[in-house]
Symmetry: C2
Subunit: 325 residues, 2 copies
C-alpha cells in the first residue's frame, strides 16, 4: 500500500499529536499552521488538505470537496450539520467520499450529563445547595416536598441513537416508563418506540422530555409552542441535542406560564446566549455551556477513536460511526 | 381483640391524619395538642402517650419508657439515635417494647440523592451552571477536561444497609468497582465487602467514598484525619449518614490541602452549620440541608409505611424495619 497522508486540524497537545503520528506511521500526518480551539468550530481553509487522503477534525466544506485525493473524513464531533446537506451528500457520493463522526467518543459523557440533569432536578439541587435552614423551618419542609423520586416516573426521548441507548440502560434500575421517538423504528429497541407523527400524543404523559435531536431540516424548531403546550403539567424539559431544535421564546413562555416546571439545557442558539436573553433570567432554566460530551482525557479518547477507524480503514473498511457515504 | 390506642406526634395535614384515623379504625388515634414541625426533632412530652399501646413519631425517651401500656414504637425517621442506648435497649427488653423505624420510606430518596451528588460532581454542575462561555474559550476546554465519567470508576461505601443496596443497584449500568464496609458481612451482598479493620486499606483505591454510617458510639468521628489522609488523590467524599461521623476540621483540611477534590454533604454537625464555619467557605464543599430523604408526598408515604406495619402488628407481628426488641 502506498503511503497515505492524514490531515488533521484537531485541537491537541504536541504529545498527543506525536502519539497520533507514531501510531499511523509509516503513513504521514499533515498539520495546518493554525489549529482549532474547539472540536465544534469550523476551521479556516488550509492548503495542506489538498494533499490529504484522509482528514480528521472540522475542515471547512469547500476544502473537503475541493481536495482531490480525499476519500475519508472523520469529523471530530458528534454533530456534522455543515456536511449534512443534499449538495454535500451528492458530491460525496459522486467521488466516493465517506464521512464518519466521533459520536462514540461522546455517547457515555452525554448520557451521564443528561442523567445528572434529571437527578439534580429531582433532588432540587440548585435550590437545596443554596439553602441553609434548620430541620423545622417551613423552607425545609417545602424543599423536601418539592423533591421527587425518579423511580417509576415516565420519560419521553426525542432522537433515539447511541446516547439514548446508553441513557435507557442507566434508567433501568429506576423502573421508568420510557418512550422514544424514532423516524425508523427497528423493533429491537426494547422500549416503546413511536414515530414523529405519534410523538405529540405521547408527550402529554411524560414527566421528563429529553431532546437529543441533531440539527437538520426536519428537526429545526421542532420544539415549538404547540409541542410545549402538549407537555404534562410539572414536567421537565432537557436538551443535549442542538439549540436550533427549540423555539426558545416558546420555551421561555412554557417556563414562565406552564406547563413545564424546569428546563435543563446544554445547548442553546446561539451559544452562549447573549446577555439579557429571556432564558437567562428564568430561575427554573438551568444552562451548561455545551459541555455534555466533555470528559477528562477527551482529546486522547478522540484520537483513539480515530486510530480505531484508521486501522479499520487499512483493513476491511468497516468504519464505526459512518454517517455519509 | 380490645381496642388499641395509637398515639402519634407526626407532622401531617388534617386530611392525612383523618386517613390514618379511618385506616386504623376501630382502633383509636390519640393526637397531642401540639404537633411536630419535623420528622427529625424530639417532641415535647405529652401526657396522652401514657394511655397509648402504640406510638408513631418522635416521642421523648422518658415518656416512652414511662408509658405503662406501650408495646410498640414506630420512629418516623430512619435514624433512631436517641433510643439507641444500652439503657433504653435494656428497659425496652425488660418490658417487651419493640421499636421500628421508617428507613424504608427514605431509602430510595436517599440513594437517589447521593447518586445526584455523584453525577453533579462528575459533570461539574456547580461550576458549569455558572459558566457562560463560547466553544473556543480556554475556560470551556478546562471545564470539559475537568468533567469525568462515572463509568468504570471505583466506589467505597461505609454503612451497608438498605440505602446502599439501592445505590448499588443504580450503579450497576456504570460498571463501577464497588467495595462496601460492613461490620458483619453476610456473604450475599453481591459486591466486595470488607470489615471496618480492612476499611482504611480499601480506601486508597476509591474514586468515590460514600458515608452512610448511622450515629452511634462506634461511628462517631470515624472520618478523621487518618481516614481522610488515606483517601486517593482527587477522590470525592459524600455524606448522607449523620454529621457526627465526620471530624469536620479534618475534612476541611483535606478539601483545602488534598487529597480530596470535593465533598458533598447532606448532613453536618450541627445542622445547619453556624455562619462563618470553615466548610461554608470552601468552594469545593457542597451542602444540602438534610433533605436526602425528602420526596413529594413524603408524609403520605410515611403514614402508609406505618399502616403496613400496623396491619402486621395486628396479624402476625412480623414488623418491617425492626431495630430494637
Amino acid at each position: 500500500m502506498s503511503t497515505l497522508k492524514v490531515f488533521t486540524d484537531i485541537q491537541a497537545s504536541a504529545g498527543l499529536l506525536d502519539w497520533l503520528r507514531n501510531e499511523i506511521a509509516p503513513h504521514e500526518l499533515l498539520l495546518p499552521a493554525k489549529r482549532a480551539a474547539s472540536v465544534l468550530v469550523e476551521q479556516a481553509s488550509d492548503p495542506l488538505i489538498a494533499e490529504a487522503d484522509i482528514a480528521f477534525g472540522q475542515p471547512d466544506v469547500a476544502s473537503v470537496l475541493n481536495a482531490p485525493r480525499l476519500r475519508w473524513l472523520q469529523v471530530s464531533s458528534a454533530g456534522f450539520t455543515r456536511y449534512d446537506t443534499p449538495g454535500f451528500r451528492k458530491a460525496a457520493k459522486a467521488r466516493g467520499l465517506v464521512v464518519t463522526n466521533s459520536s462514540h467518543v461522546y455517547d457515555q459523557a452525554c448520557a451521564e450529563h443528561v442523567f445528572a440533569f434529571m437527578l439534580a432536578q429531582a433532588r432540587q439541587l440548585p435550590r437545596s445547595l443554596k439553602t441553609r435552614c434548620t430541620n423545622s423551618d417551613p423552607a425545609w419542609t417545602m424543599l423536601r416536598e418539592s423533591s421527587r423520586l425518579l423511580l417509576g416516573q415516565s420519560v419521553s426521548i426525542y432522537g433515539y441513537g447511541a446516547i439514548a441507548e446508553r441513557l435507557v440502560g442507566m434508567l433501568a434500575p429506576f423502573n421508568m416508563e420510557i418512550t422514544a421517538v424514532r423516524r425508523q423504528p427497528r423493533g429491537d429497541e426494547g422500549i416503546r418506540i413511536v414515530t414523529p407523527d405519534q410523538a405529540i400524543a405521547a408527550l402529554g404523559e411524560a414527566d421528563h422530555v429529553i431532546n437529543i435531536l441533531p440539527d437538520n431540516a426536519d428537526s429545526r424548531g421542532f420544539f415549538n409552542e404547540t409541542v410545549f403546550r402538549a407537555m404534562k403539567s410539572g414536567s421537565v424539559f432537557y436538551n443535549i441535542g442542538r439549540g436550533t431544535t427549540v423555539d426558545q421564546d416558546a420555551l421561555a413562555d412554557a417556563l414562565q406560564h406552564g406547563p413545564i416546571e424546569a428546563a435543563w439545557l446544554d445547548v442553546t442558539d446561539p451559544e452562549p446566549l447573549p446577555e439579557g436573553h429571556r432564558l437567562l433570567g428564568l430561575p427554573n432554566c438551568h444552562i451548561t455551556p455545551h459541555v455534555a460530551g466533555g470528559q477528562r482525557g477527551e482529546s486522547r479518547v478522540l484520537v483513539a477513536h480515530f486510530l480505531e477507524n484508521f486501522r479499520r480503514h487499512l483493513n476491511d473498511g468497516a468504519l464505526l460511526n459512518r454517517v455519509i457515504g
